[in-house]
C-alpha cells in the first residue's frame, strides 16, 4: 500500500545491488535518522535519553555483533558479556594510559582487543559445532569474568575493583565522565552505532557476508565452492567480538559511567542472545528491534502498575517481570521463530503486494 514501486527501474547493477533498492525504504531510513539525530535530542527527557535510548543503542550494537556470529555464520556464542568486558577494560586501560588521545578513537580501537580475544576463543570452532562450541564460548565467558575480578592491573589496582570513567572531552565538550551531558553522550553513541551498522551492512551484502551465510546454511557446499571454513569462522569471531567490544566500551564510557566485573557476567551474554533471537537471527534490523523489545519491555512493565494506578510491591513487579519476559520469549518463539525481523518482513511484503494477499 505504502510501497508504490511502479516506475522504479534500475539501469545499473550498483542501483540494483543497493542496500535499500526501494525508494520508500530510503525515505523511511532518512526519517528515522532525522528523528534520531535531531528530534529526539531536542525533545526527549534526560531520563529517557540516558536510561532508554543510550542503552538501546549500546545493546543494539552488541546484538549486531552477536548476530554476525550466530545469525549470519551460525555459530552459537554465550561469551558476549565477556567480549564486551574486554572492550570495556581495554578502553579503560587505554584512556588512563593515554589521557590526551581522543576518547572516541580509543573506544573504537578497544574493539581490536576483544577481536583478538574473540579469535583466540574461536580457535576450537573448526573441530566443534553447535552446543559444544557454545561451551567453548562459555569457557571464555567465565574465564574472562574471572580475569576482571582477579587481575587488579585491569582496573589499575583500585580498591573498589570497579572502573571509573575519567572525564574526557572533544572540541572542549565533555563527552565521557560524570560531567558529560546526556545528549552529548547520546549523540556520540549514535554516531558510532550508525557508522558501525553501516559497515556491518556493507560486509553482509558483499562477498564476506555471502561466505558467512554459506558456512551457516551448508558448510559442506561452502567448502565445495572454495570457502575456507576455518578462516571464515575466525573472521566472523573477530568481527563479532570487535562489535561486542566496542559495545562494551560504549556501555561503560557513555552509558553507565562506571562498571565492575559483574556488569559483564553470563547474564549479560544471555540478555544479548535473547535480543538476537527475539529480534531475528540474521537481520540487522532485527538486532535493533530485539534490543528495543528486551530492553524496553521491563521498563514498560515497571511503569505499568503506576500507569494503571495500581500499587504493587516492587519485588512482586520484579518477579512478574521475570515471568512475563520468560513467557513472552516462549510465545515469540512459537508464533514467529524467526523473530521480529521476520514479522517486519511479512508486514512489508503485505504492503508491497497490497491490496492483493500475494
Amino acid at each position: 500500500m505504502l510501497y508504490r514501486e511502479c516506475g522504479q527501474y534500475k539501469t545499473s547493477y550498483e542501483a540494483d545491488q543497493a542496500v535499500f533498492p526501494i525508494l520508500q525504504d530510503r525515505i523511511g531510513i532518512a526519517t528515522i535518522l532525522v528523528v534520531a539525530f535531531i528530534i529526539l535530542p531536542l525533545t526527549a527527557s534526560n531520563f529517557v535519553i540516558s536510561s532508554v535510548l543510550i542503552p538501546l543503542l549500546v545493546f543494539s550494537l552488541a546484538a549486531i555483533g552477536l548476530n554476525i556470529l550466530t545469525g549470519y555464520t551460525g555459530l552459537i556464542s554465550l561469551g558476549t558479556g565477556g567480549f564486551m568486558g574486554v572492550g570495556a577494560y581495554a578502553c579503560y586501560k587505554l584512556t588512563t594510559a593515554w589521557p590526551d588521545v581522543n576518547v572516541v578513537v580509543l573506544i573504537v580501537s578497544s574493539g581490536v582487543f576483544s577481536a583478538a580475544i574473540g579469535v583466540l576463543f574461536g580457535l576450537p570452532s573448526l573441530r566443534i559445532k553447535g552446543f559444544y562450541l557454545a561451551v567453548a564460548t562459555l569457557a571464555a565467558q567465565f574465564f574472562l569474568s574471572w580475569c576482571f575480578i582477579r587481575i587488579a592491573w585491569l582496573y589499575n589496582n583500585n580498591v573498589s575493583g570497579a572502573i571509573e570513567v575519567p572525564t574526557r572531552s572533544m572540541f572542549g565538550v565533555a563527552i565521557t565522565g560524570p560531567t558529560a551531558d546526556p545528549v552529548t553522550r547520546y549523540l556520540v553513541t549514535l554516531v558510532i552505532v550508525v557508522a558501525m551498522t553501516w559497515v556491518a551492512s556493507n560486509l553482509i551484502h558483499g562477498r564476506i557476508g555471502r561466505m558467512w551465510m554459506a558456512v551457516r546454511d551448508m558448510d559442506i557446499a561452502a567448502e565445495l565452492i572454495g570457502i575456507e571454513l576455518y578462516q571464515t569462522k575466525l573472521l566472523a569471531f573477530a568481527v563479532s567480538s570487535f562489535y561486542c567490544g566496542v559495545a562494551g566500551a560504549l556501555m561503560v564510557f557513555l552509558w553507565l559511567g562506571a562498571a565492575e566485573a559483574d556488569s559483564f557476567n553470563i547474564d549479560q551474554s544471555f540478555l544479548v542472545l535473547f535480543m538476537v533471537i527475539i529480534g531475528g537471527l540474521g537481520s540487522l534490523i532485527g538486532s535493533f528491534l530485539g534490543a528495543a523489545f528486551i530492553w524496553g519491555l521491563p521498563i514498560m512493565l515497571r511503569a505499568a502498575p503506576a500507569f494503571f494506578g495500581l500499587s504493587i510491591h516492587a519485588a512482586t513487579v520484579e518477579h512478574l517481570q521475570f515471568m512475563i519476559v520468560g513467557a513472552l520469549i516462549i510465545f515469540f518463539l512459537i508464533v514467529e521463530p524467526h523473530g521480529l525481523a521476520r514479522l517486519w518482513q511479512i508486514g512489508k511484503q503485505k504492503l508491497r503486494v497490497w491490496p492483493f494477499p500475494y
Binding site: I76, A134, A139
Partner: protein, 327 residues
C-alpha cells in the same frame, strides 16, 4: 624456571607430602562431582529423548527444592504432624508438581515448537528458566530457605576416618548423596535397558518413527522424560540443599553441568556420571593445588577449560557415538 617448578612439580610434592589432605580434597571433589552428575543426568534424559538442550534443568532443581520446602512449611502451617509425615507428604506433592510441570511444558512449549531447529528449543528453555525464576520467587519469595534435611531423616554429622596418617572427614549427607545418586543411576540404567518405555525412549533418540512403532506417542515420551528429569531435579535439590541452602542463584549450577556433558557426551548416562566425577575432582584439585598460583577462584572456569581441551581431542565426548558426516 621457578614458575615451571611451581606448576609442574610443587603441587605433586604437596600431594605426596600430605596424602590425607589429598584424600580429603578428592572426596570433596567426588561429592561435588556427584551433584554435577545428577544435574547432567537431567540434561541427558531430556536431550536423549527429545533432542532438547534443556537449560532449565538448573532452575528445575532449585524450583523443586523450593517447592519441597515451601509445601512443607504450608503443611506445617495447617498443623500436619509429625514433622516427618509432613516432610514426606511434601515430597510426594513435590513429585506431583514436577509431573504437572512436565505436562505443562510438553503442552505449552514443546508441542507448539515441534520440528523447530535446536537453537529455538534451546532458547525456549531459557524462557522457561526466566518464567520459573519469576514464578518461584513469586510463590516462595526471593530469600534463601533451609532444606528440610533432618525431617527427611537424612543422616547428619560426619565420619572421621583415621587414615593416611591423618584425618579424613566424610559428611554423612555426602555419603548419602553419593549412594542415592548411584542408586538413581542404576535405576535409570535398568529403566532404559529393560522396560518397554525405556526402550522407546532410546528409540526416540535414533528416530521418532521407531518410537511410535513401540506404540508410544511422542507427546507421552516427552512428558515422561521431563517428569523423570523433574524427579532427578527433586533429588538433586534435596542433596544440594542439604549441603548448602536453597536459593535461586543456585540455578547457575546448570551451567556447571555443561562441561560435564561435554566430557560424558550428551546422550550417555554413565558418561554423565563419570564426567561429573572427573570435573568435580579435577576442579577441587586444581583449585586447591594450582589455584593459589594464579589467584584463587579458578573453580569458576577450570571445568570449562578442561572440557574445552578435552573437546579438541574427542569432539563427541567420552561415551558419545562417533559422528560420521555423510555427503
Amino acid at each position: 624456571m621457578e614458575i615451571l617448578y611451581k606448576i609442574l612439580i610443587d603441587p605433586f610434592v604437596q600431594m605426596v607430602a600430605a596424602p590425607d589432605l589429598l584424600a580429603q580434597v578428592v572426596w570433596e571433589g567426588l561429592v561435588g562431582g556427584v551433584l554435577y552428575a545428577l544435574i547432567a543426568l537431567g540434561f541427558v534424559l531430556i536431550f536423549k529423548a527429545s533432542g532438547v538442550f534443556n537449560f532449565a534443568q538448573g532452575i528445575m532443581v532449585v524450583f523443586a527444592a523450593m517447592t519441597l520446602v515451601g509445601v512443607y512449611e504450608i503443611l506445617r502451617g495447617f498443623g500436619v504432624y509429625p514433622t516427618d509425615l509432613a516432610a514426606y507428604l511434601a515430597l510426594a506433592l513435590t513429585f506431583c508438581v514436577m509431573l504437572v510441570l512436565a505436562v505443562a511444558v510438553e503442552r505449552l512449549v514443546l508441542r507448539p515448537l515441534v520440528n523447530q531447529p535446536d537453537i529455538i528449543l534451546f532458547m525456549a528453555t531459557f524462557g522457561l528458566t526466566y518464567f520459573l525464576i519469576g514464578f518461584g520467587e513469586l510463590l516462595f519469595g526471593g530469600n534463601p530457605k533451609v532444606m528440610i534435611a533432618e525431617q527427611l531423616h537424612l543422616p547428619r554429622g560426619a565420619i572421621e576416618l583415621k587414615i593416611l596418617g591423618g584425618f579424613v572427614s566424610l559428611q554423612k549427607v555426602d555419603i548419602a548423596a553419593a549412594v542415592v545418586a548411584s542408586i538413581m543411576v542404576i535405576m535409570l540404567a535398568v529403566f532404559f535397558q529393560s522396560t518397554r518405555i525405556g526402550r522407546a525412549l532410546r528409540a526416540v533418540a535414533d528416530s521418532h518413527k521407531a518410537a511410535l512403532s513401540v506404540g508410544i506417542s511422542l507427546e507421552q515420551i516427552w512428558v515422561i522424560v521431563w517428569f523423570a528429569a523433574g524427579v532427578v531435579a527433586v533429588i538433586t535439590g534435596i542433596m544440594w540443599g542439604a549441603r548448602s541452602q536453597v536459593e535461586f542463584s543456585l540455578q547457575v549450577i546448570a551451567l556447571k553441568a555443561l562441561p560435564v556433558l561435554i566430557l560424558g557426551g550428551f546422550t550417555s548416562i554413565p558418561g554423565a556420571v563419570v564426567g561429573g566425577v572427573v570435573i568435580g575432582v579435577g576442579e577441587k584439585l586444581g583449585e586447591f593445588y594450582w589455584g593459589p598460583l594464579i589467584g584463587s577462584g579458578i573453580e569458576s572456569w577450570l571445568a570449562y577449560v578442561i572440557a574445552l581441551l578435552f573437546l579438541l581431542f574427542r569432539p563427541q565426548g567420552l561415551f558419545g557415538e562417533k559422528i560420521i558426516e555423510r555427503v
